[in-house]
Point group: C2
Chain length 463, copies 2
């Protein structure tokens, strides 16, 4: 890369292709800077719709446009694939790695938007049995587990086994958890209702757990209550004040507020509770003396920079400021603000006033035709809120083509009962292991290694 580094233009390095990183990069389109976007995946993930990939409504491509494609026409921006392993704030370099290749990229200004991942509150061993909902891989993994559970139930022999396979537990009653629970319910009660012969998918139990006393806390009691009643009408069991104490292959153990414990037998569990910021947050705090909050987010100054490092901006889910929520809008506005600050400095203009977040409201779908929305002081629920959700999400999905096919796939699942994207690949290794040795009857399988896969690939598939 060294050839490029000798360039006289101001070098901006952006870490992350999520909302913060992508919108910061796009905001710099007309600036006299060279932007290098370093991301771990080739796509920009439209996270709010991840649950629709997990439940077979949308394809990966529809919520994850190629970052290169989005930025193809922005000549001052380049995309490098890689995972950031080190940021040297003194030398002003970012070290990143892709399949073992290490690259060092220097910067004059740095925008760190590496986001946050799932948090298991110190119980990382839960992850294997209850995947999170943070990446395309998570979503495909869960798709494999959800559909796979019904397939296995169709083959199961004992009622206990069938029940365990047809009980779905979603941990965490925030927007993601509510949306997952609602979609699994629609999948079981509508989409799959006619697909099986021995089992009736409508018998499936969908349980939504949260330690809090209400669901959708951030939406206030009124909307939370409405959402809860709507979910219950759909057949979702909402269990509040329920703290998860253990998760294993075949079930989950919870503790109620009165201290009593309960075991729920369930093969397919989804973890939608808690996030923790990218380790890069701690990595930066360590070097700059900035503080970290409980979620591991780095505390930034009012202009989103770090102490004594006006050239380093931290935005989005890994930034801690005025306890702003980890939502797309905070990341988008933060990314744009950082880009504007960089431009102003280069132009020698006075810096903008402190970052001010404009809350455009928040919404969550509960089922087709039903959502809750909180915009300013206004509260909406039901069909109108759902229309709001539909319109706003369509607008935000990046790329015209995706908007159209997405609209069609939605028509299929909202108007019809179908799901266009039900494919489960053999590559859901994780899903396989999760249902592999239920009880003695199931033969444990060795983890697959590339060698095995090669051998396997060269064997003719029976179908």
């Amino acid at each position: 890369m060294s050839t490029k580094d000798s360039s006289r233009r101001h070098r901006v390095v952006v870490i992350g292709s999520g909302f913060g990183g992508l919108f910061a990069t796009q905001r710099l389109k007309r600036a006299a800077v060279d932007v290098t976007l370093i991301a771990r995946t080739t796509h920009h993930l439209f996270q709010p719709l991840l649950y629709q990939v997990a439940t077979g409504i949308l394809s990966e491509g529809e919520i994850a446009p190629s970052t290169r494609e989005v930025l193809a026409r922005q000549r001052n921006a380049r995309v490098l694939l890689g995972e950031v392993t080190r940021i040297d704030v003194k030398a002003r370099t970012v070290t990143h790695e892709y399949v073992g290749r290490e690259t060092v990229t220097p910067y004059d200004s740095l925008v760190v938007a590496a986001g946050a991942g799932q948090s298991y509150f110190g119980n990382d061993q839960f992850a294997r049995h209850a995947p999170g909902m943070k990446s395309i891989d998570d979503a495909l993994e869960l798709r494999g587990r959800i559909f796979g559970s019904f397939e296995l139930a169709e083959l199961a022999s004992t009622p206990a086994e069938i029940e365990r396979l047809m009980t779905f537990v979603v941990v965490g009653a925030g927007p993601t958890g509510v949306e997952m629970a609602g979609q699994i319910a629609e999948l079981a009660h509508r989409t799959l209702s006619r697909d099986f012969r021995r089992i009736d998918p409508r018998d499936a139990r969908i349980i939504l757990l949260d330690a809090a006393p209400q669901i959708l806390g951030s939406f206030g009691e009124k909307l939370g209550g409405r959402a809860r009643r709507r979910l219950e009408r759909m057949g979702v069991e909402v269990r509040l004040g329920a703290k998860v104490v253990d998760v294993d292959l075949t079930g989950i153990d919870i503790e109620h507020t009165d201290g009593t414990r309960e075991r729920i037998e369930s093969v397919c569990k989804v973890w939608a509770a808690g996030v923790s910021a990218s380790p890069l947050a701690a990595h930066l705090a360590e070097q700059t003396g900035a503080g970290l909050d409980r979620a591991g987010r780095v505390e930034v100054l009012p202009d989103l920079t770090l102490p004594d490092h006006p050239e380093i901006f931290v935005v989005g889910d890994m930034m801690a400021l005025d306890s702003l929520p980890g939502v797309a809008q905070v990341a988008i506005q933060g990314g744009r603000y950082a880009a504007d600050q960089i431009v102003r400095r280069l132009a020698g203009e006075a810096p903008q006033r402190s970052f001010r977040y404009v809350d455009k409201g928040s919404m969550a779908t509960i089922s087709r035709f039903s959502a809750v929305a909180s915009i300013g002081k206004a509260r909406f629920s039901g069909f109108f809120a759902w229309l709001l959700w539909l319109g706003i999400h369509l607008l935000y999905i990046i790329g015209f083509k995706h908007r159209i096919t997405t609209l069609l796939h939605w028509a299929i699942s909202f108007v019809g009962r179908g799901r266009a994207e039900r494919v489960v690949t053999q590559q859901q290794v994780f899903a396989r292991t999760a249902i592999e040795d239920l009880g003695d009857r199931f033969r444990p399988e060795l983890p697959r290694v590339p060698g095995d896969r090669a051998d396997e690939q060269s064997q003719p598939p029976p179908d």
Copy 2:
């Protein structure tokens, strides 16, 4: 299952959810029989379009509708997920397995349509470095390798490395190989042309290899010649009379007809040469004394049954009869014929005359707007042939919804230059290993085991 087995209705077991198995099952819709379709995947794969998934045009769901969904309304049919491990022709039972669970299903009539897989002509070790094109997993694997090669080239430091990463070799110049080569060329020359900064994807070399003296042999010299000229105009290097003698991580060794050898440095190789029938073919031959041909296909009687086993039909790619080709139409017509025979017997009617294949012609796309088609004595090429291809494939894609979204994705890639489905998941383990330790510079990575994946999942992703 034993409850069901006591049923008095004639029990038909169909193995495989490909063209042969699915069409046989659907043909039995109104028959007074119980049909059990046993398949290894949850989807029916529309194999002729697999290359479009591999090159990012279509999503998995668009070419692989859920078999259950397709058969949901056929009340006399049930679908069981599993891999057939044994067929006992004396006891008339099929033993199948799903994630370790073994199930034994008895039959009165059996339709075996387990298809064929890639053949490496005894060099199965090639598979790891040159995946085939037989399953959704293969296609996603290749998608990961194709796009991943460009990503790595953008980071590579030496010209030799960049060239090796931007050289794509397709082995086998049948329809699949021709279509892959054509699509990789369009991807490099059109889709990605503006997406990179250090490399120019238009410099990519696409090499199509075959040991035969012409491409698309089954289409005759004239069409083969036209297809070849068209490919060459698109920048595809067609190398004929080239026999593959070795394949490794970083290249492929070929032997020319004159005995001279050549090494082609290439990271991304595609294997589209040769098929071998499902091992179930040999398994059946062994028990019934039927013969096997070179491709491991079992020789059937003129009515598609096995010697002394009128209750066992073998159809599609794993059946050998009058050297019929392994194409969708042979499987579809064979499956329907078998279903009709079963119905006639139950009705006590005289059996149909021997199976007669009606050749509806064959076609291959070379690029958008260009194809070759051979229908009866007629030969078409160019735009008209492409329109034929478009119409016929749209008709065959099962499920209205898929037809519409597919048409849109096609519009995107044919009219525009985009690709709606470019997502590569971390689950392309295989793709990762393929580009992992190129030269010393690359650190070898341990094969992933579920445990690792769990740990990894619990770490926040940088983007």
